[in-house]
Symmetry: C2
Subunit: 130 residues, 2 copies
DNA sequence: ATGAACCTTGGAGTGCGCTCCAGCACAAGT
DNA sequence: ACTTGTGCTGGAGCGCACTCCAAGGTTCAT
């Protein structure tokens, strides 16, 4: 039940980049920073091969990054993730992050209504000929 | 009907910083970058004095920044703002920005539901004793 | 009148998150 | 066989938005 087929021999880095919405450079950078849950395997000639599991984790990284979690915090999360019995800690991090995201959203929404007010003001001003 | 009194001689930079939620350094940086609508006046000894108008504009800058508008785009907006008859252009910029903010919000909200799902998963996992 | 607390400037430095590059190896299509 | 494309590494470079610093001036309370 995969959205897009991942062949058993794995995806090339460019394919994984396309699927995750990240750039090839970013993928290598994340790996260098230790953000991958498992490093992707290598072909006989040393090229990365991404499994479906690898790609799924990239999705998690995107989720965390695009909600504003800094690289170094993600790193801590991943390190936890790699050890068993850390479920409670992972939960704590996610819940703290959730609160953080909600605060962000709230602030942006407040500013958004101010933007809307300004837009309404200009719409009237422009309509009234300059 | 001002929220906090602004004396006629104006506020010091640190007072303006406190009111706007920006740092003193950021205030000077924004001014250097040409983000102020009007540069604040100076005391006899050359210290900045912020009027209520100045402080209000800082609020606008905060609104644009915290919704993700880059400094260089704000700069263009301010330059427009300083010229008369640019109301339609200002409106266009604000509307484009509004769309951008809505897109951002939407993406973050999507990721948020994914975070919530993960949290629910861990809540169950943790409850079931590790 | 001495010291702390504030302000000024120009410019250097920082942290973040990529992004790009050189120089090389391998892969795939024709 | 050849050419084009893709991949590898280590490391340099970049854009952004501040943030800090040195060196000095002013203000004010004790």
């Amino acid at each position: 039940m995969t959205v897009t087929e991942v062949p058993p021999e794995g995806l090339t880095i460019s394919a994984a980049a396309q699927m995750s919405g990240l750039s090839v450079d970013t993928l290598r950078y994340y790996e260098k920073e230790g953000l991958t849950l498992h490093r992707p395997g290598r072909s006989s000639s040393g090229q990365r091969r991404y499994t479906e599991q690898n790609v799924k984790w990239l999705g998690t990284l995107v989720m965390l990054r695009r909600t504003g979690m800094p690289i170094r915090d993600i790193k801590k999360f991943v390190e936890l993730y790699r050890r068993d019995g850390t479920e409670a800690d992972r939960l704590a991090i996610l819940e703290a992050h959730r609160v953080h995201v909600l605060e962000q959203l709230d602030e942006v929404q407040t500013h958004l209504t101010a933007i809307n007010r300004k837009i309404d003001y200009y719409k009237t001003a422009v309509m009234d000929g300059k």
